[in-house]
Amino acid sequence: MKYLDEFRDPKIAKQILAEIEFTVTKPWVIMEVCGGQTHSIIKNGIDQILPKEIELVHGPGCPVCVTPLEIIDKAIEIASTPNVIFTSFGDMLRVPGSKKDLFQVKSEGGDVRIIYSPLEALKIARNNPEKEVVFFAVGFETTAPGNAMAIYQADREGITNFSELVSHVLVPPAMEALLSSPKNRVQAYLAAGHVCAIMGWWEYDPIAEKYKVPIIPTGFESIDVLEGILLAVKQLEKGEYRVENQYLRAVKRGGNQPAQNIVNTIFEIGDRKWRGIGEIPQSGLKIKEEFSKYDAELKFAVDNIVTQESELCISGIVLQGLKKPHECPAFGKECTPSNPLGATMVSGEGACAAYYKYQRIRNG
């Protein structure tokens, strides 16, 4: 397929791999931030062909995985309310809340629908004026512009039966939180390519400088990931630390300005809880006061729900790169994709699910 196959060419991949092998002289720990990159690494077996000096750790960049249990419980509460049509991206439906998941709400008669864009939720609201339509707005900077646009359009059209349950998180504060942890092992980042396509990469300059880590905005195909690793290793070996853009075909320094404008119109930065990590100050987006009538948490008065995370699940430690999924005692036993204890086992992009899917063969 044009524009994709070029970035999956095994011959080019092997050339880059040879260059990585030639460059590396000591052990390095590199974190790929985005779940899409984790998926590509495991699916293509990149972790298996890298020189043993390079350890990849899987970052907190899967939106399903970092959405706190509390928000899932709020979603379940709203979706169970009569007269509500609850809309969501597909993979949020299987994430376990503290008692059930959204699929269960659906089987109990709740009107829960999978959609592909928040603007579809707005269309449903327009066509069903007697119902309350709620969209589950989760994700990183990547999904924020679309979610902001839905509120913007609802406001312009005077649609009042639409709202969003927002759990938006921002990548740079999480990257910084990991680096400032005393247990930090990460020496270089492959930054999330699609987040950078929206936000640009200027935000990373001060982080690279302050913590002395190379940061490489990187794409998602096998060639992208390998090239990202090569750029990181070259800097590490030379003792350099700067932002170097691998994903040239999608990422500009300033990012996508119209997308940033719509996000800034609707949302403002606020504190956010991350599943398994806890609250990180100024690490998320919330709906601005002037658009608060589109905030489902306020509309359905679920802002008082508080939930504790499961004790058996170590997804928080996995998301911080301190342990690998298969080092969890519950991995593949109490916790499988059909019975996930934590969100990292739910989404195809979650580190645990990716390991389960592609690696059981290696671990017996």
């Binding site: 092997k14 293509n44 993979d91 592909y116 999904t143 690696q359 063969i361």
Partner: protein, 351 residues
């Protein structure tokens, strides 16, 4: 009602008392008789069905018989490349044919929602007639029930089928042997992506068509090359990945797929990329996977290539001794990944 066969328009709906299905159409009285006389018999009629007995009495040779049943609930009922009616015929014909049997007779049971336009039922009956003719099978028994509006989604169809298994044929998912080759009859994921991209709330349009087709003709060609086909299935729900996992578990062998050998059409692949769905897990309705000894694999593929429904056939992998019960595929980088059973529905990824 997009994109159905233009031939089906040539036969108009017979004049009837109502435009839509009434509960009385399923009550056994005059309206039931009207439905049978004006819609079903003209489309499906034959010397057995025309007798309107409570059962079909059939003459069958003293062979092994293949017998199957399947129920069709697809939404939407009309999709690019077909509709629920031809799917119901082809699906059951294929399930019979995967045993190597020659499909002969089908039964058809309709569950109709009150209010369904008769025109819709008529068009579906017409395409079922056409599909049955193409597959060379007769519909010899039938039933119709009508349920209250809201108790089913427009219409559901159950079909059962029987066929005659040739004497020397013994096709089974437990006959895979290390060294066997895995053959696929053509490109994968057409049907599932055609249905998925038609659902109303998807905002992009595509020209992907369902591959619904009866495969018994292709199976006949294959049996002419060799009656010793070890295993054969049509990879419907759950796609190629599910069928191969069933094979690997039932025969307690490993399956090794070659890198990038599974054909996927350009536009189907594109839709899968956009929605974050792996084509190996998407339903097909006109494809088969056959497992044969390596010595006959090349000849088998060559014969399949000459048939319309096998013109993109290829060998996609082999049966191995390692990794028993597991399907693995080599990636472009030369390492293996597991092709596992899907968990529930295929869910589109967030980003």
């Amino acid at each position: 009602m997009a994109d159905f066969d233009i031939d089906l328009m040539s036969c108009p709906l017979p004049k009837m008392d109502y435009d839509t299905i009434q509960l009385a159409h399923g009550a056994g009285g005059k309206l039931s008789a009207d439905l049978i006389d004006k819609i079903f018999i003209p489309r499906f009629g034959n010397e057995t069905l025309d007798k309107l007995e409570d059962q079909a009495v059939l003459n069958i040779p003293k062979n092994k018989i293949a017998f199957t049943t399947d129920t069709f609930v697809v939404d939407p009922i009309f999709f690019p490349g077909g509709n629920i009616g031809e799917l119901a015929i082809n699906g059951t014909v294929n399930d019979v044919a995967m045993s190597g049997a020659k499909p002969l007779y089908l039964s058809v049971g309709f569950i109709l929602e009150e209010g369904l336009p008769l025109e819709t039922l008529h068009i579906i009956a017409l395409s079922m007639e056409k599909a049955a003719k193409q597959a060379g099978v007769k519909i010899v028994a039938g039933d119709t029930k009508v349920v209250n509006r809201g108790s089913c989604d427009k219409l559901f169809i159950n079909t059962s089928g029987i066929g005659i298994v040739p004497n020397n044929v013994n096709i089974s998912a437990n006959r895979l042997t290390p060294g066997d080759k895995i053959i696929i009859s053509g490109s994968v994921a057409d049907h599932g992506m055609a249905v998925m991209t038609t659902r109303e709330d998807l905002s992009f349009k595509s020209k992907i068509k369902s591959d619904t087709a009866a495969l018994n003709g292709l199976v006949e060609v294959m049996l002419n090359i060799s009656e010793d086909i070890h295993a054969m299935r049509d990879p419907t729900r759950g796609g190629v990945a599910t069928t191969l996992n069933e094979f690997a578990k039932q025969s307690d062998v490993g399956i090794q797929l070659y890198s990038d050998k599974i054909p996927v059409k350009h536009d189907v692949k594109g839709a899968c990329e956009v929605l974050g769905i792996d084509p190996l897990y998407v339903a097909n309705e006109g494809k088969l996977i056959a497992v044969v000894g390596s010595e006959i694999a090349e000849n088998m593929v060559e014969a399949m290539l000459k048939h319309e429904l096998g013109k993109n056939a290829s060998i996609i992998g082999e049966v191995v001794n390692d990794n028993k019960g597991i399907v693995v595929q080599q990636t472009g980088l030369g390492v293996n990944r597991i092709i596992d059973l899907p968990v529930g529905e295929q869910l589109p990824r967030i980003c």
